[in-house]
């Protein structure tokens, strides 16, 4: 069965989730949301979500949306908290598993979501900022990364700014990222050196291509595997139950192409809304 790269990434994310875990999800990360929901519908039914949107511990879920993204979480919370409580109490206490999307990542899994190029004061590109990344990566055990568009601009020898702590000599608790998935392959971090290591190539991707698109020298596992493609069931769940709109595709696009896709998705979503499909269980409306 044919699949797209966004689907493969969400499936890889799903496979990193174990049952009974607490998983946290940041904002604007539909590939991660789709992956978590896929895990819940397959091998991890007792996973608990800690959602940035809605600020709640959630067990239930709704299909992904754009204008209606809040439907995924609000009103479904087991326990709703303030973000102050989440940042000070819940995140340190539960140390959830979380996938982050770095703006830049270095060979040891340090990463950057603050700025790229120029100086801090007048950067070439200011990124949105670090969110909770410099807070939790300094103590968490379960940090994972994903990069929807693998390129030398993202995988760099030297970060412009270190907002996410990797396998770094400055670390005093927790551990650096355990895993990274991109549109080209899957990676872990070699225990001794803490350096990024290719462990699996996605079907059709060559080692040479991965190395060419990585801005530093890549370790390669002795037992390099090929990523197992999505199963028919996984694809069916992603396409029909979890994300019929296709919100997950947004992360593989940028600029004007992304905004075009957004307009199309918004139209489709509005149509569904007017047909009541999304309203079925919205008891609050």
């Amino acid at each position: 069965m044919d699949y797209s790269i966004d689907e493969l990434i969400s499936v890889c994310i799903s496979r990193q989730i174990e049952d009974h875990e607490v998983v946290a999800q940041g904002i604007a990360t539909p590939l991660v949301a789709a992956g978590y929901l896929l895990a819940k519908m397959t091998h991890a039914p007792d996973v608990t979500f800690l959602s940035a949107i809605g600020q709640a511990l959630c067990r239930d879920w709704a299909p992904l949306g754009v204008a209606t993204i809040e439907e995924l979480w609000i009103g479904r919370g087991l326990l709703t908290v303030s973000f102050v409580q989440a940042a000070c109490d819940l995140l340190p206490r539960f140390g959830p598993k979380e996938f982050f999307r770095p703006g830049q990542v270095d060979p040891c899994g340090n990463f950057n979501n603050v700025y790229i190029g120029g100086s801090y004061e007048t950067p070439r590109l200011r990124l949105p900022g670090s969110g909770g990344i410099p807070d939790v990566t300094v103590f968490e055990e379960n940090v994972l990364l994903y990069v929807p568009r693998h390129g030398r601009h993202t995988f760099v020898e030297q970060l412009d700014f270190k907002s996410g702590l990797g396998h770094d000599t400055q670390r005093r608790a927790g551990r650096g990222p355990r895993y990274l998935v991109s549109d080209l392959g899957q990676f872990d971090f070699e225990p001794q050196s803490g350096r990024m290591r290719l462990i699996s190539l996605h079907p059709g991707v060559t080692l040479r291509r991965v190395q060419a698109k990585t801005g530093f020298e890549l370790l390669v596992s002795d037992k390099l595997l090929e990523t197992v493609p999505p199963t028919e069931r996984e694809l069916k769940l992603l396409r029909e139950a979890i994300d019929p709109l296709g919100v997950r595709t947004l992360e593989t696009l940028s600029g004007a192409a992304r905004r075009e896709r957004l307009r199309a998705l918004l139209q489709k979503e509005r149509l569904q809304l007017s047909e009541g499909e999304f309203h079925a269980d919205r008891h609050l409306f």
Partner: protein, 262 residues
């Protein structure tokens, strides 16, 4: 106590040099109607410090209109809709000072202010570059473990504006969704303005924000548009895309003047 005021009266509560906090989050429940009225008032305030958990649509308007001197948020963007155009441009051109924050620095800073102490300790930031760009944030030694900890300083706020789903005349309010840091903001702000989809005589409990510290309650139906006000209305994504297009075409000022139709 009846605290209701008109939007025009309420925007006069923001003064030059204030730290202005916006409730809600990114593109959810932002006080957009208030921000628009603030920008278009006679002599809009200058030299503001923006305080928000995340900067988003409303914050980008304020930056674009030139009211903001410095910004303290842990994220500033439009989520799935992309970068915040006026923010990104202002930072690139060195016209906006950033006080780099994270979730923990804002959360700890607000708790310090509520407790009446100068700081709250945290493991956050140690080992990252955050401390380098925030030389004012001190590192202290945990007197029990000798561990190095970050001492996040208390955060002050002159005026906070929070859009809510329902309020009563004395300022008790139900948020509707996304509590974010609104309760804490409401407790540290010296002046507190609510804009509300509906204003009732007296809300029954439970409520999300107590009216005790509220200065003004403004009836502002669809006051969060084009951001969402759950569950009353979702995000108006097309309007946000139109905004981005206008900004990318260098038409921010025209957008404010001509495109403000809901």
């Amino acid at each position: 106590m009846d605290k209701t005021k008109s939007l025009d009266e309420a925007v006069l509560l923001v003064q030059d040099g204030d730290t202005l906090a916006l409730g809600g989050m990114t593109i959810y429940r932002r006080p957009v109607a208030f921000v628009h009225a603030l920008i278009t008032r006679d002599n809009p305030p200058q030299d503001l410090t923006l305080l928000a958990f995340t900067g988003g649509f409303a914050s980008d308007l304020l930056v674009g209109a030139g009211l903001i001197r410095r910004s303290r948020t842990c994220y500033f963007g439009l989520e799935t809709f992309g970068l915040a155009p006026m923010f990104t441009q202002a930072v690139r051109e060195g016209r906006l000072e950033i006080i780099e924050e994270s979730e923990a620095s804002i959360a700890c800073g607000l708790r310090a202010t509520m407790a009446g102490v100068g700081f709250m300790p945290s493991r956050a930031w140690q080992g990252t570059d955050m401390l380098r760009v925030r030389p004012d944030v001190m590192t202290i030694c945990d007197p029990y473990s000798d561990e190095r900890l970050t001492a996040f300083p208390a955060i002050d706020c002159d005026v906070a504006v929070i859009h809510v789903l329902r309020a009563d005349r004395s300022g008790n309010a139900v948020l509707g969704g996304n509590p974010t840091i609104d309760l804490e903001l409401s407790m540290v702000a010296k002046r507190l303005i609510l804009t509300a989809e509906t204003v009732e005589d007296e809300l029954p409990g439970p409520i999300d924000l107590p009216g005790l510290a509220v200065t003004a309650v403004v009836h502002a139906p669809r006051g969060a548009w084009p951001t969402s006000c759950y569950p009353a209305y979702p995000i108006d994504g097309e309007a946000i895309l139109d905004y981005i297009s206008a900004c990318n075409a260098g038409q921010f000022s025209n957008y404010l003047l001509t495109s403000w139709i809901q």
